[in-house]
């Protein structure tokens, strides 16, 4: 095909000449679809097939904030070395949405490929002579082979899976095996899917040279791993931690946490014979209520949580302050999206760091856990409940859309049956009766962490106390006396400081020749690691630290002290993590250089590299 060249607007195309190198198990492609046409299952099929071939892979859903009809993209990156951060250098694009052809075709790197539906001719204006166009008449093939209208649309997507199987040399047995698993109870669907895949596959084998230079070869790198999204893993963590009450108000991108929780509870916590449920899910009228319900349930002794996103935290802040001051445990899952205000609901950001650390009016400070991937979503969710009850305070699990809604290849989730929930200091009836004092007092005596024993309603009259969000003294009584008020506030500050020895420590990786440090958080992890490895190949060495909790542990303080220059990499405009480090450690702020990316897409390694290379 001869086409006129069209200038590329792609900003981050790597230097030319690279197309000659072997791209086996090291390339990225993008699938451009129309939302609501069933492309999600087609894309998931490819992603899972690559994973099952043992090759590190990641898939990023770049979807619009609507339900149907708008353009949606899915990016897949395969990388034998395990670098699975987002990359916007696409070796191939599957262009299934004519409305976005112009942009999609421009985005392919020189030397790359465009796979499109050739049922209709491509406009000459879209032509590029530095890429190869692969046309397959999907609509025509499907019209000839399927009778129902809906099937004809859906199967176009499945057909391009078949083409990619041929082009990338994906193991066909794996794909067929997956279809069998997926449609074991729906043989008719199984048959049409298999047929569509064969259509796309056969066409490619007949018309193109297969495989392409970028192809897949089986590896052993995903053994012991699973392919899972963060919200599902968080939901499982809440189930395993023994949470019984969940109160929430729907919001993207956190809704699937509750969907998951509900589904797992139906499986594991519903009596088969009677239908009785060992859990209670409350879909609240708003986030204010959701937080109130969590507080009420936790006050009564249940492990309770809510899941929301930034706008929800804004509303919950009032009651988060109540829980902090009255010392009621609560777990708040915040799956961050782009702010401020309604922002971009289906895009990712780390814009809630400061808000969560200090949520609510007055002097408040919270414990925040930062998972970086679904595996940590699971383990830190469990940890969040233990910390909330041990410290009798709200604990945030601060995830984000990229972690929560995209599928990640992570080590299998581990569970040790000897785990016992840390319920913290809760007095039993016997302990209450054995108290040396004639009465029980809510906020004293405290233990070494600054935590006093609590009691639960209904246990014994001696344990009764009055919970209040208004000024109270160390005995729990109402007060407006400065010293008495301050005494409680100082203890709360002590409790927060003590938390730094209880929270999960930062992940630190050092290189002997390092000349600087990089501190990052959450889902930035893969891009920062890739950047540091790439820089190392160029002779530039840096140490790595990823915080996993606020308050910061002593190891964070030490790392900051050890380095002359520390880059802080995060996804928000105002360098919130950097601000928190300045406020809460003794690091001189000149030391901390900020690298931020906040457009709404997952971080890429080149963004980090550019930040470090710049003076």
């Amino acid at each position: 095909m001869q086409h006129e060249a069209v200038a590329s607007s792609q900003e981050h195309i790597q230097p030319s000449g690279e197309e000659v190198r072997d791209r086996t198990n090291d390339f990225a492609f993008k699938l451009a679809n129309v939302n609501g046409t069933g492309s999600a299952s087609a894309n998931g099929l490819i992603m899972q097939a690559i994973f099952r071939m043992g090759i590190p892979v990641s898939g990023k859903n770049l979807f619009p904030s609507n339900i149907q009809g708008l353009p949606t993209w899915y990016e897949v990156r395969v990388n034998a070395k395990g670098h699975t951060a987002r990359t916007s250098v696409y070796d191939l694009i599957v262009a299934m949405n004519a409305e976005t052809y112009a942009r999609d075709i421009r985005e392919v790197r020189p030397g790359g490929y465009v796979l499109y539906d050739a049922t209709w001719p491509l406009s000459p204006a879209l032509a590029r002579d530095d890429v190869t166009f692969l046309g397959v008449p999907y609509a025509q093939l499907c019209n000839e082979n399927f009778t129902e209208v809906r099937e004809r649309t859906l199967m176009k997507n499945i057909a391009y899976v078949g083409t990619l199987v041929a082009l990338f040399d994906i193991d066909m047995d794996i794909v067929t095996g997956m279809l069998k698993e997926k449609f074991s109870r729906k043989p008719a669907l199984m048959e049409s899917n298999a047929k569509a895949i064969k259509l796309g596959y056969d066409y490619a084998r007949e018309h193109f040279e297969c495989p392409l230079p970028m192809k897949l070869e089986k590896m052993d790198a995903t053994k012991g791993s699973i392919l899972i999204d963060g919200n599902t893993a968080t939901a499982l963590g809440c189930v395993y931690a023994g949470a019984t009450v969940a109160a929430w108000y729907p919001i993207t991108p956190s809704t699937s946490v509750l969907d998951g929780f509900k589904a797992f509870c139906e499986t594991y916590r519903t009596d088969k014979a009677t239908g009785e449920r060992r859990y209670c899910i409350l879909q609240a009228e708003d986030e204010l209520a959701a937080m109130g319900m969590v507080i009420g349930a936790a006050w009564n002794g249940a492990r309770a949580f809510t899941s929301t996103s930034g706008p929800g935290i804004s509303l919950m802040s009032e009651l988060i302050g109540l829980a902090y001051y009255a010392e009621v445990p609560a777990v708040i899952v915040d799956v961050q999206r782009v702010g401020p205000s309604t922002g971009m609901p289906t895009r990712t950001q780390q814009g809630d760091i400061l808000m969560c650390a200090y949520a609510s009016h007055g002097d408040t400070k919270h414990v925040v856990l930062f998972p970086a991937n679904p595996n940590e979503c699971f383990s830190l969710a469990v940890k969040a409940f233990d910390l909330a009850e041990k410290l009798q305070t709200p604990v945030f699990l601060l995830s984000d859309l990229d972690i929560g809604m995209n599928d990640w290849v992570v080590p299998r989730l581990e569970w040790d049956d000897s785990y016992k929930p840390d319920r913290g200091r809760v007095l039993s009836k016997e302990e209450l009766l054995a108290l040396p004092t004639p009465k029980y007092y809510r906020y004293s005596p405290e233990d070494e962490h600054g935590v006093a024993a609590r009691t639960l309603p209904g246990v014994h009259e001696k344990g009764s106390f009055f919970t209040r969000g208004s000024g109270h003294n160390k005995l729990g009584g109402y007060t407006e006396i400065p010293d008495e008020y301050q005494e409680v506030m100082d203890r709360l500050a002590r409790k927060h400081r003590a938390a730094r020895h209880l929270v999960p420590p930062a992940i630190i990786e050092k290189r002997p020749e390092a000349t600087f440090g990089v501190v990052t958080v959450g889902g930035c992890d893969p891009a920062v690691r890739e950047a540091l490895e790439t820089l190392e190949e160029r002779g530039v060495h840096g140490d790595f630290l990823r915080v996993r909790a606020f308050p910061f542990g002593d190891e964070v303080e030490a790392f900051l002290a050890e380095h002359e220059i520390v880059y802080v990499v995060e996804q928000n405009r105002d360098a919130q993590l950097r601000s928190l480090l300045i406020l809460e450690t003794s690091v001189p702020k000149e030391k901390l250089r900020s690298i931020t990316a906040y457009g709404g897409f997952p971080l890429q390694a080149h963004q980090v590299i550019e930040g470090i290379a710049l003076p």
């Binding site: 189930v239 023994g242 209670c280 209520a289 009564n300 009651l319 929930p421 309603p457 919970t467 969000g469």
Partner: protein, 352 residues
Amino acid sequence: MSYIKKPLVRHPSLKTNQLGLTVRDYEGTMSTLCAGCGHDSITAAIVRAFFELDTPPHMVAKLSGIGCSSKTPAYFLSGAHGFNSAHGRMAAIATGAAAANRKLAYIGVSGDGDSLSIGLGHMSHAIRRNVKMLYIIENNGVYGLTKGQFSASADMGSKSKRGEANAQSPIDPVMLALSLGATFVARSFSGDKTQLVPILKAGLLHEGFALIDVISPCVTFNDHEGSTKSYVHTRKKQVPIVQTDFVPAAAEITAEYPEGSVTKVTTHDGATIHLRKMAADYDPTDRTRAMAMLRERQAAGEIPTGLLFLDPTGATEMHRGAKTVSTPLVDVPFDDLCPGHDALERLQAAYR
């Protein structure tokens, strides 16, 4: 109004209930409200209701929002856990508490400001969910604690202390509750203990959300001429539509109630509520007719009181609807909650 601690000694001849407790055992700390505040009379009625129901105090959770009314849980049942939460949020917090532990009795005390403005959504949804709790609105038509602004229940044209007339139409919690599908709706007056105590008792035993709107005059900001929530006005205009008598399971006396004018309702624990209809055509179990009747009476300037509507079935109570186990969730052992290692291994096959 007193800040001194109540003496712990009690008179040996004080009557005891089945638990061997006296009415003093159901009291709390001394009230700090203005002398004569209607809220204190309601507190006294609550104390009496729990005493007469033989409720173990520690099996009660008492919750409130913010306001003078919301302070009152401190003044009854010292032996119960209390939660003085945030302005308007009591219903949500009580809902969560009830979700976690269904074996406690829940009593929520709120004000008309707390419930009908900032907390309107939460109260409405607690009604919709039919959370098993007694929800009391201590209704004085003003914001007491913030010194006398009109609340959403202030009647149109009623006057503030400074003589300013209210220009907006009120939210009537009773009509609201009825239209939201509440299963127990009552109105009473803080100055009418004879009527209030049996209604409180019936509400506490109701298998679902029991709303009681209690006109409770604020002597400091709303007890003057021109107020429609004053003592004088309420005494003059109150019309008992239904006389409520509460009869414990063991001591039913039916002779007092002539056939035809009495509706008998049996609560889930076997006790009986007698609703004696003062108006012949009033059916307290017919929601539509109850609403029509209330509208007529209110239009005529009356304040209809009594247990105005009751659906005794309890079918839609929150836990029943959610099919929650009968064991309170807080008492379910961890082993019955955590699926364990093997289940996780099996589950992960689906993520390969």
